[in-house]
């Protein structure tokens, strides 16, 4: 195994982690502030990807596509919040799970109805389609590097939003005490809609960014959603910092597991079974990571009891 390949894979893991963070940040924020578990978060990711693909196909502009993904997912988020989600804040988790599962069905089939079952493709913008030369003679795709940059930027912006702004203060207050923030005269339902829309926009943005690497298709959101859940469980529900650390951990574990485990098993097994066992184990690695964290800290790395 050479060093260059290893560094490339590390970057891939980081890129994957950053993308997971965009999903997990919204989920954890929505859970932290409103106490809602939202299974339809993956649908908002899909909405963002489809909006981006459609706008890119119509206009040829990737920038417009990204803006469309943010707008479409935020809009879908606002509508869903007003029509369904706000009726669920006072319900138990079972009702939330079921109602948002119902939303997945509606979103997925609705999208299939509009766009058909075939995947759409979103091209990487020309400006970012090449590779960037990094130190040690590494050539790494510019687009993936851009995703990492974007993600870190969003993480920083989220951090500043929550710690430095008035709305962030309200979000933190809402997290600790719903009644108090109501008493302060903040319009709580507008705040909740805004937080939900923010989470939705982040998910849609992630969907668009990833859509250019993978294909855009119905059902693309749920596997990512479940990985985002694993991320949150590891990081601790409600913690943005936990979401970030969890996302990077999951991204790196998954990517490096796929690369390293077959090699590891290859040192004492024949190549074909090493590949099989390594791949099978790698597919389980993040769940094993999750189980290990739970054993040590049931509320996650940054979770409070």
């Amino acid at each position: 195994m050479n060093l260059i390949l290893l560094i490339e894979q590390l970057l891939n893991g980081l890129q994957f982690g950053v993308m997971l963070f965009l999903m997990a940040a919204g989920l954890t924020l929505i859970f932290g502030v409103m106490g809602l578990i939202n299974l339809a978060h993956g649908s908002l990711y899909m909405v963002g990807a489809f909006a981006a693909a459609a706008v890119a196909a119509a206009t040829g502009s990737f920038t417009l596509a990204l803006i469309a993904s943010l707008a479409a997912a935020a809009l879908a988020g606002v509508i869903v919040e007003i029509v369904v989600i706000r009726r669920l804040y006072d319900r138990d988790h079972l009702d939330q799970v079921l109602a948002t599962f119902a939303l997945i069905l509606i979103f997925s089939e609705g999208t299939r109805w509009v766009f058909g079952s075939f995947p759409l493709y979103l091209d990487v913008p020309a400006a970012l389609s090449g590779a960037v030369a990094l130190p040690f003679g590494i050539n790494y795709p510019a687009y993936r590097l851009a995703i990492i940059g974007f993600g870190l930027l969003v993480a920083l912006a989220m951090y500043l939003l929550i710690t430095r702004t008035r709305i962030g203060m309200r979000i933190r207050a809402g997290e600790s005490d719903r009644e108090m923030i109501g008493a302060l005269g903040v319009n709580i339902s507008v705040l909740y809609t805004a937080v939900f829309a923010l989470g939705a926009a982040l998910a849609g943005f992630a969907g668009a960014l990833v859509g250019a690497i993978q294909s855009v298709q119905v059902g693309m959101g749920e596997p990512v959603l479940i990985l985002a859940f694993v991320t949150i469980v590891i990081g601790g529900i409600g913690s943005i910092r936990g979401a970030f650390v969890g996302a990077v951990l999951v991204g790196l574990t998954d990517t490096m597991g796929r690369v390293l485990l077959p090699v590891l098993f290859g040192t004492f097994m024949d190549p074909s079974s090493a590949t099989a066992v390594g791949a099978a184990l790698a597919s389980m690695s993040i769940y094993i990571l999750m189980a290990a964290v739970l054993l040590i800290k049931p509320t996650g790395l940054y979770g409070s009891a």
Partner: protein, 329 residues
Amino acid sequence: MRREPLINALIVVGLLAVPLWAYMADEPYVITLTTKVVILALAGVGLNLALGLGGLVSLGHAMFFGIGGYAAGILASHAQSYDPIMEWPFLIEGTQSMPVIWLLAIVVSALVALATGALSLRTSGVYFIMITLAFGQMFYYFTISWPAYGGEDGLSIYVRDHFPGLNTLDPIQFYGLCFVILLLALFVVARLARSGFGLALNAARQNEARVRAVGIEPYRLRLMAFIISGAITGLAGALYADLNRFVSPTMFSWQTSGEIMVFVILGGVARLFGPVAGAALFILLEEVLGGLSEYWHIYLGALLLIVVLFARGGLIGLLAGQGKGDDDD
């Protein structure tokens, strides 16, 4: 006025009458459909024990359904190819005998439920939901990437497994077998619900501190409930494999977990026959709406939303009314 027992009796009569009619009228498809209802209901009966009685919102029950399915698929595939599962340290051969397959499905599901439950029950609420979902997904990806048993393509069971004294290839006989198992499972769950275990489990769902204060540990009750629940759903998976004569990683998918939960909710949570009514309604909708529109899941989603937001007792709750407080039995 207790209408629920009457509704339950009607459901049983329906499950007897429909296949009998189909048998007379020579409509094997209807028998197969009813068999599907009964098997999916069984999976729901398993989940309902954890969900309805224990309040454990498990979104990972597909893992047991899949384990049961693969227990059937793997044993049958070895039997079909006369290739033993292992020869050392002792010989284990494949089999097409249903009782052996069921036993394996139950035991392995129970063991996996023990391991995953012991971990996930250390947490509660939304953590539990996410973790069970994640464990289910782990099995899904594992079956996809493990090439020995078909990987993504799944496994075929060329000839349906056997049951002593029955011709399982005959739809009505296979149906009868599944129906009896469902009744047995319902009986077991009814007994569990009325036992001391059931009383304490149900109380722990409502008020954990109360149960602790009388000296009973909720964790153990829940783990036991999760194990039995997983075993029942695992058995359903083994039957489902034989119904389709095919298993694939889809059995492990999160959609399967979601659908099992939907049966329970559509029928009515914590109602003994809720999953049966729910599975029947689900298959009926699939047939009727599925015939009308390719995109019938939209309507299913809308219906589910309505049930969750406005009709929380599900179908049986709607028909039987609320108020199930009784302690005479």
